[in-house]
Symmetry: T
Subunit: 69 residues, 12 copies
């Protein structure tokens, strides 16, 4: 049956390593408290700079999860 309802929330994950890892960190954090997460979309990629390089990446994502019936 496909008449599910989904909720979307907006998160920003951080990583010193890479933009992909910042996304992974935000999803891992969300999965600690939310069940049925199954989708994300990148909204914005930013970062802080120190000593002429990226100090940490900050990626804002929208995460979708199914609301329990």
């Amino acid at each position: 049956m496909t008449e599910h309802t989904y909720k979307h929330i907006e998160l920003t994950g951080s990583s010193a390593e890479s933009s992909d890892q910042a996304i992974q960190n935000a999803i891992a954090k969300a999965a600690e408290t939310i069940k049925n997460i199954h989708w994300f979309e990148v909204l914005e990629t930013r970062g802080y700079i120190e000593d002429g390089g990226v100090h940490y990446w900050q990626v804002t994502i929208k995460v979708g999860f199914r609301i329990e019936d």
Copy 2:
């Protein structure tokens, strides 16, 4: 008195029937747990296709509700 604060959340409703019904389904689901819902806005209309027709409609809406004082 009009100095209320409102919160908006983003939901996707599904329906095999029509795009309007997908919106109704998302609102009905939200109303099970949220009081004071009084407004929605369509953000995106999508759907899944099977056998050359729309299998189910998926409409993403923003829903606004008043935060209790």
Copy 3:
């Protein structure tokens, strides 16, 4: 000859019935006073909610009509 000029106006129609009917209502109202209306485009679909369902649909459209030569 095709060197006509067109004007666009922005209207919001309401309907308790459906999103399509809200568009029809706005166009019917505009046609009472404007001649040569021949085109519309949906800008925004919203609505008011009561008792866990859509109380009325509000669709904002841009309507185009030819200015008389």
Copy 4:
């Protein structure tokens, strides 16, 4: 295996009946020549007006289909 590639095309469907039917018409037409169509998204809803009502609806959609491996 999930490393598929998908292609998106943009179509406008027309219907004298409703905005949902204009989408169904575009999908039915596309399905005559394209296999593996499984997704659509509404880009724009417009229409032509005659005698103070919608003469026909025109809905532009993006349609996605899997490229054969």
Copy 5:
């Protein structure tokens, strides 16, 4: 350590006084129940009109707060 995760929520604040005060009201309301709020961004400034003047301002903001580790 900077690998925090942040959540964003969307609020509308109201004020009879000014657009800046509508923002302050939304933040004050949110701070009653959410810890670690540290950032906002204006999404939309609207208002209701009576007697040829702004009756109250309504400003929609996105508010960001750090999720507890």
Copy 6:
């Protein structure tokens, strides 16, 4: 009964004083000739500069009013 039709117009108000006052000035001017104005939305905030400061603020708003039945 809620099946009203609304029209939106776009105005730019000016003020030497503040951005909020530029909005008030546009609404006051519109209210001289239009009845039933009940809503505005800010589209753009600009201004002219002289002597290293804002000489006057120019705020463009969309104003909505109900069309008489």
Copy 7:
């Protein structure tokens, strides 16, 4: 004194000749009935095609004029 109010309207001009001329045609038409026009901005450039070439250009502009005090 600079506390004027301006109104903006949206027009589409047509020309068989060029995109610039389509703009000139819309402005000339508007100037027949509106005083104090002093600014335009291009919103959209489109056109109709026949025999593998542009049959006529259609440029939609926003036109601003000062409301009489």
Copy 8:
């Protein structure tokens, strides 16, 4: 009968002469292989620069054509 389906494709035309001519060149090229082209819309106007002037114009357009029944 108006229940046609239209397809849109995206092209970039080039011209050393003018922005309008870059559009004409893209349409002429498309018309060599596609029937029933009847509409275009400008998406982006760019160009390459040499010796302090525009070396050639590059205009990206969306072109619409009717799918044969």
Copy 9:
């Protein structure tokens, strides 16, 4: 003669006081080193929050100035 060229730069001004003052501060800073500044446009209004209120406002503006002939 009107064939001037203008340059636009993007600045963020800060103020503990108000959003309008954040704009004034950015313009005053720019005017220390740039001549012929005559126009600004608001791109983004944000702020930092402490103790349930706006700690300081941050408004990003585009500033335009005439390049000397």
Copy 10:
């Protein structure tokens, strides 16, 4: 000679590995059947989630190729 015409198509590539690899996969697939591909632009980065991590990345790109003269 620079008066070439280019066509753009929209593809979504998938990868279990990284967002960059999803782009590479879409381009490799397109290059199997299209000649003269020479440019891409990212339109959207999404992904599917399982077990609190990105199960596979889905990046939608626009790909440009020169049409043969």
Copy 11:
């Protein structure tokens, strides 16, 4: 070697003659002081109106140039 860095600046050129010429004027002005300019993109086309016609065209462009290694 392709690991160059490019800078983009935003300029508005003016011309009494045509929209294309306004672009040429901005580029010619920029080329007086900047080396390695090789690309532009149109951001906005506006103009001032007098006596029912375009008095001068104002086109805002983004110009890209390579930073010297």
Copy 12:
């Protein structure tokens, strides 16, 4: 004290290696001549293609730095 003013500039960095490295290269180049760089945001990710793969990545970023008091 927080009443600083920040300036933003737009850069495109290139890398044969990855999209993240293209960002790092643009920042490293900017840091050779600008002090107090402390923030970036991705505006666009593009690239050039050769032999069915990404030849080099081109990422356009907005970089923010504090103007010296």
